[in-house]
Symmetry: C2
Subunit: 574 residues, 2 copies
């Protein structure tokens, strides 16, 4: 095995710098991908994506972004940010990073560059967009020298075109970074993954492979996108003159192409419905991915002017998102489109995304109830193929690269462990695999990897305005409000600084139904008056009284109702 670094004379141990890889995101939770490569005074970053909130304990949180503290502290070292592909969990937090570090040089494919330009041309980000340092990284030929790093792209397949892996050369050796990927020998719009480059790197000697482990627990090999070729033609043909809707992930341009192709063959025109789908169709057309004539595309607002049998609706909302175009259609609340009684609605998205099953079923139920014929993965073959490598593919990549060390990325803790076990089964010792949590690091020195210092990170919540951080206290409070409501006790305080015991008011919501609970309200008022009188007589300061009283009211209500609303005691000086 020949390593890149062996060509140079080696420094003495004490002087030599280690290569450090920090997984700031993209482990533990699949999304929010961000990996830092650091060597001395140089840092390069791979990916900068958003994460999705835990639906059970992050009410009102729209997305999560990586904690950029480490990058801000080391801003002088950052030489560039490389993006593997255009999914939001890999590129979605770039605007947030640019808000902190507007001078970062971004290296990405044409498609990703286009996405970013669209985002950075929107409202509050416009100023930032003017200063945007974008460099085209061609998936086949792109190579960049940045400080001690030399980064070369190679083509991979995924559920979006122009997906890349990166060969990252450092003085300590060659790293391959292959985030979300599959091998597709017959992709629909893209070219096949560049297996020969990977093999060549493998022969040269790879110090560490970072790669997607999400599909590790599924057996076999992931099917090609082109296996769906005939599906849409057959389904559209069978539909006769009925209204047709197809929903898929709005970033899957290859799927869109297949749907449009089938529509064209059957003499139908296409309506893109939903903001995300419309935007994607725009970008993809601009880049030449959807070479259909202009008059093939019908604006949503004009769809009612056409015979519905002449159209195919490509509609956003395949995960049942409640604000999506499809969800509004299912509830009869769509502003432009009317669902016909015998419409065909085809779900061509991931049939099993975490946490989405209930939402999807809700939308399917509502559509069925309105008379639509819903077609989905359980009752129809070949509606979807995954964009992720599965066990057989992962084993293939592992053997091809034959790295000295491995870091699984893009999966949960359970998936990382399964990855370690599968690799172990094919002969790779467990100490060659580093399962990294968010903020963990691995140091590479003299051809040997060791676990490095942990970089402290905290969750960063973003509300509906994706550019402004939500304070964790606000999220915690929402959680508490959510479960058993709020119980506010307003206590007027006289000018002589005396609480007016007979003027205490209770304001409560989400706790009990007040009209049915007059007895409890009266008893509570009495209790509060009594306790307040007692606490006040002790000449304690007001903050103390407030805290004690909140505690006592909480205990009292728990005893009376077995519930624990949020208690707020508030003094109002008159």
């Amino acid at each position: 095995m020949q390593f890149y670094n062996t060509k140079k004379p080696q420094k003495a141990y004490a002087e030599r710098t280690a290569l450090r890889i920090i997984t700031l995101g993209g482990t533990e939770k699949v999304t929010k991908n961000l990996t830092v490569y650091e060597y001395g005074e140089d840092i390069i970053i791979v990916d900068c994506g958003i994460g999705f909130p835990d639906i059970f304990d992050m009410p009102g949180v729209d997305v999560l972004i990586p904690d950029f503290t480490y990058l801000i502290e080391n801003r002088h070292k950052i030489k560039g940010l490389f993006i593997t592909h255009g999914h939001e969990d890999h590129v979605g937090a770039v605007p947030n990073l640019l808000l902190e570090l507007p001078d970062i040089q971004v290296y990405a494919s044409k498609l990703v560059g286009e996405f970013l330009k669209v985002k950075l041309n929107d409202g509050a980000l416009k100023e930032l967009g003017k200063n945007f340092h974008y460099h085209l990284m061609d998936p086949t030929t792109g190579t960049v020298d940045l400080g001690k790093f030399k980064v070369s792209a190679f083509r991979m397949n995924h559920s979006i075109p122009e997906t890349m892996g990166f060969a990252i050369r450092s003085p300590e050796g060659l790293i391959l970074h292959i985030s979300d990927y599959k091998f597709d020998a017959t992709p629909v719009l893209d070219k096949p993954a560049d297996v020969s480059s990977i093999e060549r790197y493998g022969k040269e000697g790879v110090l560490c492979l970072l790669s997607d482990c999400l599909g590790i627990t599924s057996e076999g090999h992931t099917k090609s996108e082109s296996t769906l070729n005939d599906t849409f033609i057959k389904l559209f043909d069978r539909a006769g003159k009925k209204q047709i809707f197809v929903t898929t992930m709005s970033s899957n341009i290859s799927r869109m192409y297949q749907i449009m192709n089938a529509a064209q063959k059957l003499g139908r025109k296409l309506v893109a419905s939903g903001r995300s789908v419309e935007q994607m169709v725009d970008v993809a057309r601009r880049l030449g991915y959807l070479p259909f004539p202009d008059d093939f595309f019908i604006k949503e607002q004009e769809c009612q002017k056409y015979d519905q049998g002449e159209l195919v609706y490509l509609i956003a909302g395949c995960y049942g998102q409640s604000g999506s175009s499809l969800s509004r259609l299912s509830r009869g609340e769509h502003e432009s489109i009317t669902l016909e009684k015998d419409a065909i609605v085809i779900f061509s998205g991931d049939p099993n995304p975490p946490g989405a099953d209930i939402m999807v079923e809700k939308v399917m139920d509502a559509l069925t109830l309105k008379g639509a014929n819903v077609i989905y993965g359980e009752i129809q073959e070949n509606l979807h193929v995954s964009g992720h490598a599965v066990k057989g593919d992962i084993e293939k990549l592992t053997k091809m690269v034959n790295a000295k060390y491995f870091i699984p990325i893009g999966g949960s803790i359970t998936k990382m462990r399964a990855y370690t076990n599968v690799l172990n089964f094919i002969g790779i010792a467990k100490d060659r695999v580093f399962e990294c949590l968010e903020g963990d690091s691995v140091n590479f020195l003299f051809n040997k990897a060791t676990k490095g210092d942990h970089v402290q990170t905290k969750p960063i919540y973003m509300g509906s305005n994706k550019l402004e951080e939500l304070n964790p206290v606000v999220v915690r409070d929402r959680n508490q409000l959510c479960s058993e409501g709020v119980f506010v006790v307003a206590i007027p305080v006289s000018r002589k600084n005396q609480p007016m015991l007979d003027r205490v008011e209770i304001i409560t919501r989400g706790f009990i139904y007040v009209k049915d609970s007059q007895d409890l309200m009266n008893k509570s008022k009495k209790f509060i008056g009594k306790r307040l009188g007692k606490l006040n007589s002790g000449k304690q300061n007001i903050t103390n009284i407030k805290k004690k009283l909140e505690n006592e009211i909480g205990n009292y209500l728990r005893k009376e109702t077995s519930m624990q609303p949020m208690i707020i005691v508030h003094f109002i000086t008159i």
Copy 2:
């Protein structure tokens, strides 16, 4: 085809009573099963189960129960309640029904009877328990005459022993009611489903079949519980002297038996952990289902006295429920059990229950992180078999029964539609299948079925105290509080009935972080003072001012923050 009713002389049409079947629950949403059979002055009920809240818009709702209004209004007609099997979504709301109608006669298996007695011996229900009218219905021989109905039980298989179908004879004909079921030729503790009785009824002539449609979109036939026979023995054997945990649905007594059997064979003793598991083990042992010696069972509190290699923990929480014993263990918060570093944790539950995937992964991740070796369906075969018939089984039942009409139950709207389509494919016209929503009814008269009147129902929410109803207003308020918090404006009103504009106080939680938002708070106060002054000058009544002010503040805050907290304006008369 010979129908029961043809033996009697037929009344003239005008005089004759229709048989009416009302699906008060158990359609649309799988759970909350309750079917009403009504003929003239007689009603019998089949099942009375709880439902589960929609995790996205029912915060603080623990369970749903059926709306009993129709039953209360027709209480004089009710002759009896029949329970098919012991799952909570079929029997869990019986205590709630008894609170309304304490004199209902309940017909159920020994196992279900035991469950109910345990429930009705608890706290607030004790009095009710004393008056509990329970009648043993033997799955093989049970037959009861009640008014115009004659009900005979026959044995079915499911994921709990003593599951029954009912043959319900009425003057209009014979109905088969087969809720959750599978055909298991080699069950573990139970006997095989009574196929010959079903065939006999089929030959006799069945007017309508009500049966479980949940599995309709899965191909093939459901495997026997006994196919798991060797799994646990192999896994326990492979574990050597390591600590072992197994989690499964706490009602699956057959699975428990297999786990205990394997434990005993490997010389280990059993610890039942978690309230639901402990209760079930108690009941099952009392009924002779778990014939292991007393000293085989070790109390959870004493588990630390044993070498951990001598025990198997049967632990509650296979769906990752956050309060469960397994979840607490995974967080290191269990009061009695300490997870050892190389423990084996086996998930032997449904791998894909709706909405549970995220919770399950969270628990698996936490266990893995603590060093446990987690074994689950994706990486280990034969850890679980379903309790529900799938497509091949449903086709088999359909052909055996050869009913004139069909009502799919226990599935969503989408599943009901798939059921109709599958039956249609094997030659049953669509107008012979009645897809019923909650409250829908079907009338049977002169051997013909027609859709009947709809019985109005509303959702009945129960909080953590499962016996007291939560007002829908409270649930709606929690939803609003949840998403963007609460903004309370307390306005003191002087003795002269004048609002004190300079004493307005704002109390807010879950909306913005107040310490970072002093500017917004000050501006809001000013805005409120100004608007209040204006509104007050118009001599409007206080309710009007309150409403208008709340509206205006809402608009103001939405403009300033793009958020919509719940706004409460409250006047405090001094």
